[in-house]
């Protein structure tokens, strides 16, 4: 339970980090808060030869709230957003989901972008990104590119990020008028990974539900709004489409049932919260 050997580079600027990443490519891992990476290193599920620490890069420490998106830099810790009293106004779904991410003792160090990069299928922040239709801002020495959340996550803990790229920031649309947001999760204990997590965005007759913990990545579905005909059937189709599997934590059948019930409850809550 100790990491294998690696070199450690503390980047002082974005250019330094990208230069090191360009040289090392797939042998390198980006170290931000370390709350997803260190367990992987300790269990030797990851054996990079070099870690590039980006927490000293000033330009990635910013949360930019200008315009109609919330842009969260690579070095922004989860606790910084959690303690922001305005967050619920800017993006209520993120504010609702953050307390479910790990524990206070991991949110104090873990970053938002780090959780996105890790791409655990039952993690809350990737789910929020997908539910809101956010974007991932990738950067390498060669280029910058922006991917939609749906195009970024490609499978179980795998993403479209290339070896010489890092997530410089993510952007989430700010709360829109007449739109309701809600987040719900079922786990054995608070702070455990979700058995099923649901994030709902409801605007008028348009209802969207994102589900984590079932498929190999967060899944998004457009559904009839609560009160409209056909919601139960659509939820049932969605639940089956996720190809749930049995594992130590829950059966596939239980997961499908949670998608149906928790999905409905989350959508109904979003309707009630509509501003």
């Amino acid at each position: 339970m100790k990491p294998a050997r690696f070199d450690y580079v503390a980047a002082a600027s974005a250019e330094e980090a990208l230069e090191a990443l360009a040289q090392e490519g797939g042998n390198a891992r980006i170290l931000a808060g370390g709350q997803s990476l260190l367990p992987m290193l300790n269990m030797r599920l990851a054996r990079p030869t070099v870690l590039i620490d980006i927490m000293g890069v000033d330009e990635w420490r910013a949360v930019d709230r200008d315009g109609d998106v919330l842009r969260i830099g690579a070095a922004v810790r989860q606790v910084a957003l959690e303690q922001d009293p305005d967050l619920a106004r800017f993006q209520p779904l993120l504010a609702a989901a953050l307390p479910w991410v790990g524990h206070p003792q991991t949110r104090s160090r873990g970053t938002v972008c780090g959780s996105i990069a890790h791409a655990d299928p039952s993690a809350e922040l990737p789910l929020v990104l997908v539910a809101l239709g956010g974007t991932v801002h990738l950067r390498s020495r060669r280029r910058k590119r922006v991917l939609s959340a749906q195009n970024f996550f490609t499978g179980m803990m795998s993403t479209a990020r290339e070896d010489d790229e890092l997530i410089e920031a993510i952007a989430l649309p700010k709360a829109r008028t007449r739109t309701g947001y809600a987040f719900r999760e079922v786990a054995r204990r608070h702070g455990d990974f979700a058995i099923v997590a649901c994030a709902a965005v409801v605007n008028g007759v348009r209802a969207q539900l994102a589900v984590g913990g079932v498929a190999d990545r967060p899944a998004l579905c457009e559904l009839p709004a609560p009160g409209a005909a056909g919601l139960d059937e659509a939820l049932d189709d969605f639940a089956w489409s996720l190809e749930a599997r049995d594992d130590l934590h829950a059966t596939a059948r239980y997961r499908r049932e949670l998608v149906r019930r928790l999905g409905r409850t989350t959508l109904e809550e979003a309707v009630r919260c509509r501003a």
Partner: protein, 168 residues
């Protein structure tokens, strides 16, 4: 840009419980191991080593964090506080520690250092923390002996006693 080689040990210095400490560490050395084996501060315990159990929780720059999910080289220059820093004097327990003793908040004591660090920070930063807030903070810790009832009792007693102290 400075690159610390995997094959060498590197000087790591930070402030531990108010006093400067330094020692040598390979880049891969965890803060928990640095504290225990290099500094010799064995109050911080090591349980699961992947962030679940909470036994290794220490305060890093004012916030509780997992020492097993932090590299020693990451905390160069940081302020670290461990369970050894809680008691006001070698022969006196802190109010929180005293309450743990009175209310049987520990049996084997393995998880206790981490729990004390978390609760100490919580009661300092949020003296009026509600019972659910205390539970939420404790959710980041596993205790396999007492169950959590007596731990909660100790935490609430400490909160009350600390509250009276500041009123006076």
């Amino acid at each position: 840009m400075p690159r610390l080689s995997a094959d060498c040990r590197h000087m790591v210095s930070f402030t531990l419980n108010g006093a400067p400490v330094s020692g040598e560490a390979e880049p891969r050395m965890l803060l928990s191991d640095f504290l225990r084996y290099v500094v010799g501060a064995t109050g911080t315990h090591v349980g699961c080593e992947h962030g679940l159990c909470g036994a290794c929780t220490v305060e890093i720059d004012g916030q509780p964090g997992r020492a097993c999910l932090t590299l020693a080289v990451q905390v160069r220059g940081a302020q670290i506080r461990t369970v050894e820093g809680l008691a006001p004097a070698p022969d006196r327990l802190s109010v929180l520690q005293e309450c743990f003793r009175e209310h049987h908040g520990l049996q084997c004591g393995f998880c206790t250092p981490g729990i004390l660090v978390t609760l100490d920070a919580l009661l300092r930063d949020n003296p009026a923390a509600s019972e659910p807030e205390i539970r939420e903070a404790l959710a980041g810790h596993l205790c396999r002996c007492t169950g959590y009832v007596s731990i909660m009792r100790a935490a609430l007693a400490a909160q009350q006693r600390l509250g009276k102290k500041t009123d006076a």
